[in-house]
């Protein structure tokens, strides 16, 4: 279910997914890598429907 971008709270929305990814990588990540992944997560939340 895609969400409206206006309800996104940067740093809160999608944080659980980010944590899951971080855990799955099995090694600490840089802020740069985290940012890139977080962009992917937010995009997937918002664009899910359109992409489908």
């Amino acid at each position: 279910m895609p969400i409206d971008a206006r309800t996104i709270r940067v740093g809160e929305t999608g944080l659980e997914r980010l944590i899951q990814w971080l855990r799955a990588t099995n090694q600490p990540q840089t802020l740069e890598a985290i940012t890139a992944k977080y962009i992917e997560i937010l995009r997937s939340l918002v664009l899910e429907e359109e992409e489908r």
């Binding site: 309800t7 709270r9 940067v10 939340l45």
Partner: protein
Amino acid sequence: MTDQQSLYTAAQPTWNGSDEQQQLAERIYQLMVMQGAFFPQNVPIRQSLENLAAFIAEQDKRDAAAVRDQLDAALQANDHVFQRSAEDDERVIYATTRMGFYTEPHIDTVHTFKQRLYEPENPLPIDDLDVIITRTRPALTTVEPVYISDYWQQRAPVAPDEEGGSVPALAATPVEHEAEEEVAAEPEVAEPVGTIQASVTSSVTEEHNATTITLPSGVNVDLAQPAETIFVEYGTALAEAIQQAIADDPLRRIVAFGDEYYPEDAVVSLSKGDLRRIREYILEQGEPMPDTSILSDVYYKTPRDHDFATFRFALNYRLNREKDFEFVGVPGMRLWSAKGLPAVGTKRLKTSELGQFYAFLEEDASYDDSLSEISADEIRSNRQLSRFLTFFEWEYGVLPYDAAMKALLPPPLLSDQRTSILRIEAPQHYTVYLVELRYPTTNRGGWLHGLEDFFKEYLVPGALITLSATDDPSVWTIQYGETGGEDGKLLQQDDKKGRYSFANHTFYCDVDSDLVPSQERLPRLKNMKVLPPGERRRITSTAGYVLEQIGQSRPGDINGFELGLRDLFMGVNVQRPATRAYLQATLNEDENFLVEDETFIYFPPTEELPPAEDDDTEE
């Protein structure tokens, strides 16, 4: 009849209708009361007409269909006792109670606590949605995104445009009303609101659509763009927002050490025994140790181990939270010091005194003239820096952490890091020195110390030294130009007498003769007092004293002393560190000094320091 009996006794209603109907109604009533004998008095006892008719028909040996109509009429005649409800003609239900009547309870929903709570008549102004939506989340995974009801959305500070304009984003942080208007008008230049609570701001722009988010800095990011484009254009702003959010997360679900991040629940803990072993290991080595050495020597872990990276992170993260350990590393080399290790650097001056001496470097950037002859970019590209030693630096083995040094040396890895320990190698003598780099704070300057032995052993004030980087970010080299040897009577500090004197020296290093405090150069430095740190801290009192001691008396009505900038610079730098720019700027503003070109004239106030005591001792 006792009260207890009355509890189990039904009321005796009066009956209406014909005698037959009255009898029938009473029988039914007795039957239903018997069925609900243990019901509370006001709880309805229900029975279908079908069942009642079947019962009476069986009792009276009659036709059930005929009884049904008769019974229905009798009970309807006594509707004050029996409440009739019918879904259809086939399904009729009668209800009564032990009290002899039944009325459907009416639930008043006009005014409820729930409604008052969620939809107050006069709600307070919503400056901050955080007061409505708690930011404290349970540890368990929650459904995302946080649901915000239409009620609160509609009451957000910026109401939806009635003319069909854009819908506002949610207000999440207290923002001045004026600021909101500015943000709304020009989102690109909006003031950053500072905290991640403002991640979704109240800015309203025409560009807003269902795929656009607003960053705390006020920048709108359309997530419909490719991820690479977003990263390139807004990566920095997003990284700042994420970093802030992680730091502000009350549950600390992601933790950081330096520039690395990992989930807190996946970070292994260190027991007290672990901490003790690590501390003993560091103390045994006698100097700060890198995390990789601790991992290999204490835990026998190698980079080939699958959990090496995570364990290394855990070690650094956990040690950083322990008061018995201090991080003294740099980016690329994580060193740990433990309580009990010998201090690095001079013990003749307190760190607070050194911090105050170098405070001028942080006070005003114009006081720092270390980049007057070479740029920071050149230093970074060359990875080395050359400079002449002053007497103070040579005497105490310190170097200022000025703009040139900042360009050369590594920055702190942690935001609250106070010091780094560097290894400085002198390849000309195969010696290594541990040097402490003290980072500046808001009101104190930074410096390096720990080179006292090297300076005293091989160099003299005025010597040219070169610091160079190596492949190891915590290891540096120090070199100087060697010469055939030169003799001279050079200044030295006598801590016992608290004075300066000249002594014979033979030195083998390149010097700037203008900066060498020799007897030939400035003979009046002899017998100058070593001022106490409190007096040295004030540049004007130090410069005034130096001028009185080594300056030329100025003829005239008012007793004054004058000295050129070069000599004053050397004289002051015997007592404390100061740049030429700092001297010129501060003395120019002091009423007791007159600066003419590069000549400084000092007029001591009458209540100023008494002249130095005459000392009869001859060298």
